[in-house]
Symmetry: C2
Subunit: 589 residues, 2 copies
């Protein structure tokens, strides 16, 4: 199994040199997030993840979760690690101090989440889902609901879930059948069956607080008739067991130590949270955070895979370099001498470091949207977030999957063997393009809802930033060629959007036909912008070797990965007809 | 689990309409391969695969192989299925009649292999490896070795293996440590440890014949000092156990029902096959067949995944078409109405059908190389085979992996759940880009050894065929636009090759830097040629609906997939510097 070491050098580079987290926190009045505090979270968080979580990653995959008559047991060590995590104060890092949290900015919570997800993706699901439930209750709960539930969740005594999917509907939540019937005491009787509920049942906490989408008896049809309910496993007042039970757990390709549950609600007592029939809106308020978190899984698995691959590529001796032996005293050269192995390693490195920059960039926007006292600044951050979130989710998870596959390939046959841990990372990474809205849905959200839905305004909000950056750096001595390349793609992005928009006015299927390739095109341009920001910042800091590595990776990105935009542009321009002309019954013969 | 139905309509189309197998067999004097025989093999082979092998695919993955103190037991039903396969006469279909085979052309054996691999990839490894061992003994064994071993192998009483890899070397076989010491009786005592030996130990046959690469005591260093030995599990004469034992089996990402063994040879009695120190050459004689077979696994897993996905896409109701409800009587439209789902389905279909055409095209070349009485024709076929084989292996397995990932994605969350069988196909497909020479090695073989090593002659052998085809069809009423597109790419292919060749003369690393993207570029152009051949042949046959489907898929291929060549070309042209400049120690910080 690859040993995990938190990439603190790269994290500090982004925090200190690229995005100036300290100035950012100071401007937002987040004074608790002092440089010392940031340093402590990085160092101590790294130790916890490296020493406690990482050693449980392979064993958790091998053992998986156990289901026995409604009781779910997590793999050996998971429960204890969660206790340590709570004890160490990690769980409430970014939570509201009014309910026992430390009140640090969300960006800092995400920095910690990267380390958690990289060391043990499955384990990270339990606190991750709890944070989602906490956000929902914080944003929409009554004062009483917050007192009752949020305090316990923040303390890590209880954990939470999000119950959306049913067997017959995932993407199309308007079809849900779970019903909530009002009771005389103001509560609701919730009845229905939910599937794919992460952390739906387990042994890590004393109670589990389910947030459940259900329909009221008089609800309008479709997504406008969905409400959100709090359904605790044990009643908060009496401690009695509620009528919600785990029917089974799924056997999955990966994240095997994350319990994915069928939950059956049999008239379970629940409490409405937020307004009736506005349940989906409640969900959407935390969507940006959840989707950025899911996108980050691509980075997490990719980083872990890279750490395995770079070690192996330096150790494994196989063949001689074509330009002459590089380790003549050994039986063969380490495989890192071979250009194609380097191509894979650099692809991994360029995506990981680019995706980390994208995460931090977006995380700062989350902070601003939450903490800024300037309404215009908040709105600007919200707009950029709305635009970047589907890109983060889909681009980072698709490229993360690619990265973990390169990691396996570098190991050759050993990459396919479970013991080495490289194939687990590819299996774990495979869920992220699917859940939290498939990447196809993210693409529709980006192109249809965000870009075309705003008449291009949300796109222009970003391309203007890029354009300004390109203008400011047009004469950069080392980078001007790449700046020009970015500037051109940035312009084409707008033209491409206009083309699709015009076509979509005649035929709405043009949006769906273009969406995924449009999103990937967008992702490559966003990363190009961030790679140049990193290269410029690297040149301005004193570590020459580090700067050279950043420059080399930036160059690789522009020469080897960014040209993929040409293919995605061509696919967008190909239009919908070549997708729609074949009758459904003529696909298979 | 997706139900497997052999795609007989498409197979017959290739056999009858595109590649005229009957004329081809007649010209080669392969009179046994009559149209009736071909029809019988298709129909009866389909039944066997659909009814016997396919039902064991999921259970085999769940159960896996068992190892207990040197004894390997295959999953329930595997042994019985092998007995049925042997009894049905399937094992010797393409084997030499002198040793009990049916003597049908190899292309027909491969048609059968596709059905086997699509219904149960793991199971197919056992006869597959045996066929490899049979080819080696047939090509290089003495008359006595053939009598002793080939007859039993052809009968399916015994099975075979290929023992190449050792823990410290896979790609770089020059490093092997297994030793063979001559004995007084003319045999050799073979000592060493081999890993990743598929079908190395199991319960399906009475004896296992290992073909083992080892070094003689006086062998020259490196690959020129490797010899090949026959090492039976049980001695053919006495029936006594030989000193070769299975030390363990690997726990793998996929193909779990295929036993991947560590084999320990402790002075095991072996027999030299072929000349001393020419063991790698013996291996190379069957490389084309083995690599085409491995490439086909991409097609097999891809076809099985497509069959699952198309059924699901027609059944699963989720969201409404953006152009208005298509199934207004249902709760939602089947997801096949959505352009992005169609994009994935058509990508799967275009790769599968294109890869099948590539398989059949190459399989005919195998026939010609083996059976033609005209030396010039044999040489031409050998040259084309040498050129196409690495493309078949790498392009078909990389695109096969992509196809199985689309299949999972179409299923959404259900794609990640084992029970549905879609994720198994992605796991099974993941090995094919790694084994039988990684795809990176295939790419070096194509660009370095085949194309540049022949001064471009092997490339020109193929581009001439394409050029001739384009000239002949330049005015095709429906397809001339695509013909022109192919013709242009075909020309660029030569220019790109010249560019890399010139650069490589100055710096050998240019070959490694360009290889994988060069191979993928080549694969897309080869498939474009085959897609046009299919489209033209489809228009000439009487089934209008079938022809329309072929045309629509061809159009999709040209508009949506072929533009990927632009990205691969740009990567090739980017050269090696951006890969080689970063010092090995500066990759990770």
């Amino acid at each position: 199994m690859p040993e995990y070491k938190a990439p603190l050098r790269d994290m500090r580079f982004l925090i200190d040199n690229v995005f100036d987290f300290h100035g950012h926190y100071a401007a937002l009045g987040a004074t608790d997030a002092s440089p010392d505090m940031v340093a402590a979270i990085l160092e101590e968080g790294a130790k916890f993840c490296e020493n406690v979580l990482a050693p449980l990653n392979r064993s958790g995959d091998e053992e998986g979760c156990h289901f026995d008559n409604g009781v779910v047991t997590t793999p050996k060590g998971f429960k204890e690690a969660f206790a340590q995590y709570v004890e160490g104060g990690w769980h409430g890092v970014a939570a509201d101090p009014a309910y026992g949290g430390q009140g640090l900015p969300q960006s800092l919570g995400l920095v910690l989440s990267e380390m958690i997800g990289s060391s043990n993706t499955s384990w990270g699901m339990y606190p991750g889902l709890t944070h989602g439930a906490m956000s929902a209750i914080h944003a929409h709960g009554t004062a009483e609901q917050k007192d009752t539930f949020l305090t316990k969740l923040t303390a890590g005594e209880w954990t939470g879930t999000m119950c959306l999917t049913e067997a017959h509907c995932g993407t199309d939540l308007g079809l849900i059948k779970t019903r909530a019937v009002p009771q005389a005491d103001g509560s609701y009787a919730v009845t229905g069956s939910k599937i794919f509920i992460s952390a739906g049942e387990h042994d890590m906490s004393a109670n589990i607080i389910h947030l459940v989408l259900a329909k009221l008896p008089d609800a309008p049809a479709g997504t406008k008739g969905i409400s959100l309910f709090i359904v605790p496993k044990f009643h908060a007042d009496t401690g009695e067991r509620n009528a919600v039970h785990c029917g089974s757990i799924e056997h999955k390709m990966g994240i095997k130590a994350s319990a994915t549950c069928v939950l059956n609600f049999d008239g379970a007592k629940g409490f409405l949270i937020g307004e009736p029939n506005k349940g989906l809106n409640c969900m959407f308020t935390m969507m940006n955070h959840a989707r950025l978190g899911t996108g980050m899984q691509g980075l997490c698995n990719g980083e872990a895979s890279f750490q395995g691959a770079i070690t192996y590529a330096n150790d494994r001796l196989q063949m001689r370099s074509l330009t002459g032996a590089k380790a003549p005293d050994k039986a063969a050269d380490p495989i890192i001498v071979h250009p194609d192995v380097r191509r894979m390693l650099l692809t991994m490195k360029a995506f990981n470091e680019g995706n980390r920059a994208l995460t931090y960039f977006t995380a700062q926007l989350l902070d601003t949207a939450h903490l800024s006292k300037d309404a215009a600044q908040r709105q600007e951050a919200e707009d950029l977030l709305a635009f970047l979130t589907p890109i983060c989710k889909a681009f980072m998870t698709d490229t993360g999957l690619e990265v973990t596959n390169h990691g396996m390939q570098i190991f050759g046959g050993h990459g396919y063997i479970r013991e080495w841990g490289m194939e687990q990372l590819a299996r774990d990474a495979r869920i992220a393009p699917i859940y939290e809205g498939t990447n196809g849905i993210q693409a529709l959200d980006l192109l249809g809802r965000k870009v075309l839905g705003s008449q291009g305004k949300l796109l222009r909000g970003f391309t203007k930033i890029v354009h300004k950056f390109c203008t400011a750096n047009a004469e950069h001595p080392q980078l001007k060629g790449y700046v020009a390349q970015l500037n051109q793609l940035n312009g084409e992005w707008g033209e491409l959007t206009t083309k699709v928009g015009m076509a979509a006015m005649k035929n709405p299927d043009e949006v769906g036909a273009a969406a995924v390739d449009y999103l990937m095109y967008s992702g490559y341009v966003v990363l190009a912008y961030l790679w140049l920001r990193m290269a410029i910042a690297a040149l301005e800091q004193p570590d020459g070797d580090f700067a050279k590595a950043k420059l080399a990776t930036c160059e690789f990105y522009f020469k080897r990965l960014l040209p993929r935009t040409a293919t995605h542009r061509a696919a967008v321009e190909a239009g919908s007809e070549c997708l729609m002309s074949l009758p459904a019954e003529a696909f298979a013969w």
